[in-house]
Every structure is written in structure tokens, then in C-alpha cells.
Symmetry: C2
Subunit: 323 residues, 2 copies
Amino acid sequence: MNETASIEIGLNAAIVSVREGQPNVLVTREGDKWDALPYGPFTPLDHRTLDIGLRNWVREQTGLELGYVEQLYTFGDRGRHAQRGDAGPHVMSVGYLALIGEEPQLELKGASFGRWYAYLPWEDWRAGKPDILVSEIEPRLKQWAERCEVDETRVAALTRPERLRICFALGGGADWDEEKVLERYELLYEAGLVAEARRDGRSAAKQWDDLPQLGRPMQFDHRRILSTAISRLRGKLKYRPVVFEMMPETFTLFELQKTVEAVSGHHLHKQNFRRLVENGGLVEPTGDVSTETGGRPAKLFRFRRDVLLERPSLGVRMKAGRI
Amino acid sequence: MNETASIEIGLNAAIVSVREGQPNVLVTREGDKWDALPYGPFTPLDHRTLDIGLRNWVREQTGLELGYVEQLYTFGDRGRHAQRGDAGPHVMSVGYLALIGEEPQLELKGASFGRWYAYLPWEDWRAGKPDILVSEIEPRLKQWAERCEVDETRVAALTRPERLRICFALGGGADWDEEKVLERYELLYEAGLVAEARRDGRSAAKQWDDLPQLGRPMQFDHRRILSTAISRLRGKLKYRPVVFEMMPETFTLFELQKTVEAVSGHHLHKQNFRRLVENGGLVEPTGDVSTETGGRPAKLFRFRRDVLLERPSLGVRMKAGRI
DNA sequence: CTAGATATACTCTGATTGAGTATATAGGGG
DNA sequence: CCCCTATATACTCAATCAGAGTATATCTAG
């Protein structure tokens, strides 16, 4: 009965970088199959900790030397591998977020960097509210909320309209919260609006005719892991200086701003961003300037590693600015 | 080689409650053995998700019905079970935090609620800086920092004095950060100052003569899990209304403040706390008053569940107030 | 009735934030 | 060369909020 022998532990990594204002994640792609996050088994006999195991197989598979690494979440779902039936070993999967500063040549064939917002297009508000929300997602979500059967089995659970209000700012009252990436994906899955829900045979998915593809799907629950990673990163941005893990050694303030905008998914007020970053003591000027910006040359800055010692916590905390 | 058959997955829970101004955690105690967090194996064949598995064995073992539950961290260390040698199965452990509003009768024999600050006395700053820090911990940490061998193997790692400054606010520059509970415990472990380090045969532990017991030790790495739970909870307190998970249905504002202080470990400014909580729309008066407070009767309040719908995030965010 | 204890209300000041305007310095076209 | 445009950088202003303190209200004990 208690067949622990059939458990296998895997490590999934969302390896993130920002290039030219686009946040990317490392994916593998083969044939017609959906994209997948890189994956490696955890062998406790070879590696003392999960972190070490992760760094090792990433190095072996891709040649990448990871810097910042953070554990996200452990999934033990039986439903995870619905595709391959319930016969195989039960896989526990530990999700990780890793940040890298530059995208190197990859040794892993089939691996490349894919854009976050190709997978989750509704999360990119930098140029205003995404069209796909207005034209495709919101009307269907409203339908789904109205069709609310009495299936709210959980005690004190929220109703469907309430959940729409919280997650998608539908129905007034609440604003769009850029940190609720995971909640939104899971709601879309539950409503049967993402391809993974159809793949997994979720009943809600059968209700939709002529449903366009809402974002590029991924294998297994990898789009959920990516959503978890983005949620965590967007949150952390506000109280820890993690942006700099994704920056080159020197950079202009506008490049820094573009990176923050890429990750957080919304536009920021330029002057206030400068004030915050400079007054916060997060950066120091190198003395050089960059003339590649077009107009007046921009001063180059570097991250002041000392802040990690001075302040208990410090990030690029600021609210969304209007476009 | 790849002996996955020897892996076993366990769920450890830090089940937290606050009573009479003291934050507690559910522990089991038998004979002379150190206290332990309740533990249950995860059997994927019986339970669909880790969360369900956790709730199930907690219900079965203790009769407790958990409300708020949050995954903390997954440990895969080989060193975890050093006590029993390296021969047994390799246990992966998923740590959980659970909050309960009231402490019920426990069906589990040997189980009881133990006070956080019995295990981690240096974390309770409500009555000012704890004596144990000044008299026992700080002098030894300074010694440890001076003895700094060139063992900083990790790239770009911080020096020992730098780490003391960050974690323990030693050496000036930084303030005590109440969220760094885990970092502090791990540093104490590394310096050999907690009983678990001696138990595990850490070399640093052998340097100390007449070392008093710094906080009650726990079995395995359970004090580390408890530290993780407290870190997470103290952080979350500031931006999510989780305090109310630990409150009865109705309460006075002072009781609420006492609970926040118990968890965060420091004293708050009473008037400002009121202003924040009331203006934030977190609570609503019930109309009744409580005369059990001694002086003027205190209005009773209840948590406004609606805030979960209105605000994207909202907590009891405030800095430490002087005594 | 008074002292002591607690709850509640209000004030003041400085810091932070959101938003906007003004100035500086480059390249390119006429 | 000068003007235009694009970008970077500097400064202003009002609203809000956080920290700290003072004043008032209402109970119980004696």
C-alpha cells in the first residue's frame, strides 16, 4: 500500500533573463511538442542539497553557471502527469527560480530563451491593458462566472464573481494586481480557457467553442511553474534588490528601469524612478557615460553591493504609473 | 546507483497559535528526547496533493482541522538525519506553516503547545533587547567572527563580520531585522552555538567551553523549520491580513495589537496601530464592548472579510516602535 | 468620590510618493 | 552654422502617510 518506492523527485527550473526589454525564460523545444522548462532528477546520493543538485544538472545540461537561485514550490500532484497516464512513477517536482545576467551560448540542443509574455500575454501591461484581455478573456470569464454551479465545495470559498474581481479586477472595486500571476493562471485553467485544461480533460474546457489559443501552452504544469516564478519575482522586486541579478556590470538608469518594467509588466514614471534608485543608495555612478542612447549621453551606474549590508531590505518599490 | 527507491517524503508542520499574548507552536515530546514538530509521511496513492496529505494526517493524529496552510520549504539534505546515521532512507521533507485561531483539546498524546521564544529566545524584543543576546550570544559571535579562517569557499560570499552586521545588527550600520529569523538560526548553527550543531558533530561546536543552552533545542532540523515559519509569518504580516487567522471571531484592538506584537516580536505604538487598522478598513465594530480589559470598556471588532476583495494586498505594515 | 487603569481621539512634524515642469546635452538635417 | 528632436537630468508642488506625543473618556476598586 505505502509504495514509497515509486516516488521520483525532479527539479524544474525557471531560468530567467531580461534582454532588450524582454523578459525571457529558458525552455526546451522538440518537434511538435509543447515547450517545457528544463528538468533534472534529484539524486540524493550524488548531491547533498536540492540547490546543489539543481546547479549541477543545469551546468551539465546547458553549460550555464547559475548565480541567484530560489526555491519556489513543491508539487506532489497525482494529476501532474495525466498525459502519460497514472501508471508511471509518481513524480514530486520542486520548482526553482534562477536569475542570470546575460544570455550565453547554450550547449543544450533544442534549448532557447522564450519570451514570458508569449506564454502569458495578459500579464504585459507596459503598453496599456492587453487586447487579449478585453477581446477574449474577460467576456469568457464573465460567462463562466454566471454559469456558477453550486460546486463551491470548499468552506468559506469565494464565489466566482468575487474571484474575478480579485484576480482580474473585473466588476470594479479592485485594481489589477501584478503579483497575482499564479492566481490568474489557475483561474484560467479552472475555467478551461488554457490549452492545458483541455489536454488534462477538465470538464470546463469542453464548454468553449472556437476558443483561440490564449498564450503559448507548455508541457505538464510548466506554465503554472512559470507563473509561480513571475509572481515571486514581481513581489520580491519591491523589497529586495534582485533586479541587479539580471543586469550587466554597468548600466544606465533607463536600462534599469526598462528591466524593472519588463519584469513587473507595467510602465513606470521615469523621474520618480531615478529619484528612488539614486536616493535609495542602490547604485553609484562609474564616472563613464553611454552615448548609445540617442540623445544626451546617459551616466553609467553600477550596483552598490554594500546596500546588502546597510539596509535590512530594499527594493525598487513603487506603484504602477500611468502610461 | 540511482537508488530512487530509498527516498521517502515527509511533511512537517509548524502549527501556530497565539494565546494570552504568547505565540505557540504544536510540538510532540516523549521521554528525554528533544521536542519535535509533528510529522507525517506523504503517500501519493492516498492523497492527491501535498496540502491534502498534510491536512489528513494532522486531522488523524491530532483531531485538528487546519484552516490557513502555507508551504514553506522543501529540504533534501543528506545531513538531516545525521543522528540515525546515513544508512536509513533519504527523507525529503516539505515544511508547512499552519495558523489556527484557538487551541483545542489535543487527541495526540505527548503533544502540546510550546512557546516560540522558549526555542528562540533572542527573537523576542517586546520587552527590549533580550538579555541572552547581550550576555551570551553577542560576545561569542564576535569571537567567532575574529577567528575567521579562510574558509569562505563560496564565491562572493560575505565575511563573518558582515554577516553579523546583517543578521544580528552587530558592528553598527544596520538595525535588527525581525524577518531574518532563519538567517540568524543558521548563523548560530554554523558558529556552533546551538545544541543541534554539537549533536551533528559540527567542528565549530567544539570550540565552546561552558556554553549555556541557547534556547530549547529540537529534534532533526525542526528548529530550522520553525525559524523558517516565523520568518515567513513575520514577513507576510506586513502585506497580507493573516493575523486574523489567529484571532477569535471578535476581539478588541488591543488584543489584535498584542497578537501582532507576539508574532513580530517587538512592541508597537498603540495609537498609531489603532489608526492604521481602523483607517485601513481591516475591521468593523460589532457594536458590543468588552469589559474584561480593566479600564474603560473596549469596543469589539471583527475582521472585514471584504477587504480581501477590495485591496490587492493589505497587512499590518508598520515599523518597530520604541518601548 | 477619587485614584488608577485602560480605551479612544486628536495634533504636529517630517518623510515619502505621485505627478508635473524645466533645463542640459547629444546627433542630424538644412 | 543653427534649429529640431530625442534623450537625460534636475527641480517643484501637493497629497498622503508614519512616527511620536498630548488630551480626553469611561470603566473598577477602595
